[in-house]
């Protein structure tokens, strides 16, 4: 499923960044530039809700994150808790009923539409990409496609940053697009049990191994399913 657009977004962001710590804001700026949105924010999340802002393109995007964090309600909070995409093209119409407290603050701040995209790989929940605009209006099909490609890029970026020093190679090379075939996700589950690590770490282990062995991750996943490749810690006398 090589999403060329996702790979293109990542390599452009990596090329424009001086340092790894610049990557999130670089990605958000590229997103705000590519789409008809006013600003973009990136927050960490878990199933209880947003867990801190990583970056935001402008003051209002930051305000959007903080407002919801403080109130405990809003589209991004819903997206965090449910893991679902929440598209709100016209907050003035929908928000007062759904999130009364948030609606007041957001509309006063001039935020008229919010598109909250969960950054997750199944049960691996990493964050939320929040796009907002100062005028109402839905994203077109092509714009939604692009927004989702940015969310895929952000997902990979957060996975990479989470790996920290364990990250393999420079981001431009070690951030290949996610191979979304069923086997990769099944193998992630198997590796997490065998290696005794989280699903996120299991996915990173798979990706690192595929990278060092110059193999497609789908092929490696198939070997894990067939028991040919094993991630169990080696035992003595075995």
């Amino acid at each position: 499923m090589e999403s060329r657009r996702t790979a293109e977004i990542l390599s452009a962001v990596v090329a424009d960044s001086v340092d790894v710590t610049d990557l999130p804001i670089g990605l958000l700026r590229a997103c705000a530039h590519a789409l008809p949105v006013t600003g973009v924010g990136l927050a960490l999340m878990d199933d209880r809700g947003p867990a801190g802002t990583i970056a935001a393109t402008d003051g209002r995007a930051l305000q959007l994150e903080e407002l919801q964090f403080t109130l405990g309600e809003g589209p991004c909070v819903d997206a965090s808790r449910s893991g679902r995409t929440v598209l709100q093209p016209d907050l003035a119409v929908t928000a007062p009923f759904r999130w009364p407290a948030f609606a007041g603050g957001a509309l006063t701040a001039g935020i008229r539409a919010v598109f909250a995209l969960p950054l997750r790989v199944g049960a691996i929940r990493l964050g939320i990409l929040d796009l907002y605009r100062d005028s109402p209006g839905a994203l077109s099909g092509a714009q939604l496609t692009d927004a989702l490609s940015f969310s895929d890029a952000a997902t990979l970026l957060l996975l990479h940053l989470q790996a920290g020093s364990a990250a393999i190679g420079p981001p431009s090379e070690s951030l290949p697009v996610l191979d979304d075939r069923a086997e990769v996700h099944q193998a992630t589950g198997i590796v997490s049990v065998h290696a005794g690590v989280s699903l996120a770490d299991a996915l990173l282990l798979l990706r690192a191994r595929a990278y060092t062995e110059h193999r497609a991750i789908g092929e490696l996943a198939r070997d894990v399913l067939d028991g040919i490749v094993d991630f169990r810690p080696e035992r003595d006398g075995h």
Binding site: M1, T85, G122, A138, H185, G189
Partner: protein, 257 residues
């Protein structure tokens, strides 16, 4: 000819699934299984628009790697991709004779042992949101009656995706498609976790989770999330004890084998 009574039962079963908190992936899985049961086919898969320009398989009747590969390579070529692009039914494709049109797909499908393939669109007015793909081992064509049944099932799949929230707008559909894709990944991860813990195949792991979901009335995705979070283990799923121990203590003695 499809037995009318069974057909009616299946439609009632599917309609019955469309309650408030139904699980999209479980619903689509049931639908593909009923397809194979009701018409002369041996395998089925359902692919959805991932809204990034690709089709993503979300339900399939058989865990074999080679069947999965057939869905996978239709991201590049094949009847599903063409059906998705055109919105047209592509039925009764003789795979022995399709090499010029889809060289990779036709070759791979023949190697798996399939003789005939069909692709039907999941359509909402002018928008195509996915495709239903069927395979048959024997070189037999589907009758018009059977094709009508399959198209009926494909239409129900689209209705299921819209979650009865009236065909309000594209926004709802986009949210639902994304949810289905995320859920599908959680279920795949849980299959892996469960198979590694219980020493079962991924297919058996899937059956255990679905049976448990049916028994307890929980959504399949919720069961899968509990498996991944280690709140639900192989013993509970096998033992058929009602209810899951969400959240709290009661750690099971994890005897290493």
């Amino acid at each position: 000819m499809v037995r009318e009574q069974r057909l009616a039962e299946v439609f009632v079963e599917l309609a019955d699934t469309l309650v408030e908190e139904f699980d999209v992936v479980d619903f689509l899985q049931t639908l593909t299984e009923r397809c194979v049961e009701l018409v002369d086919t041996d395998a089925a898969g359902l692919m959805l628009d991932d809204q990034r320009g690709h089709l993503q398989v979300v339900a399939y009747t058989d865990e074999s790697a080679r069947l999965l590969e057939l869905f996978e390579l239709q991201k590049a070529e094949g009847p599903c991709l063409d059906c998705f692009a055109s919105g047209q039914v592509i039925a009764n494709v003789d795979l022995a004779d399709a090499r010029s049109r889809w060289p990779v797909f036709a070759g791979a499908a023949r190697e798996v042992g399939f003789a005939v393939s069909h692709a039907l669109p999941l359509r909402l007015r002018r928008q195509v949101v996915g495709a239903l793909n069927l395979f048959t081992v024997a070189p037999v064509r589907l009758t018009d009656d059977h094709l009508a049944v399959v198209q009926g099932l494909a239409d129900i799949a689209t209705i299921g995706l819209l979650h009865e929230r009236a065909v309000r707008d594209r926004v709802v559909l986009a949210e639902q498609l994304q949810t289905a894709l995320h859920s599908r990944i959680v279920i795949e991860q849980a299959k892996g976790v469960l198979s590694a813990r219980g020493g079962t195949s991924v297919g058996e792991a899937f059956r255990l989770m679905r049976t448990h979901a049916r028994r307890t009335g929980e959504a399949l995705t919720v069961v899968a999330e509990a498996v991944v979070a280690q709140e639900l283990g192989v013993e509970e799923l096998r033992g058929g004890r009602p209810g899951t121990r969400r959240g709290s203590g009661a750690a099971s003695p994890g005897a290493a084998s």
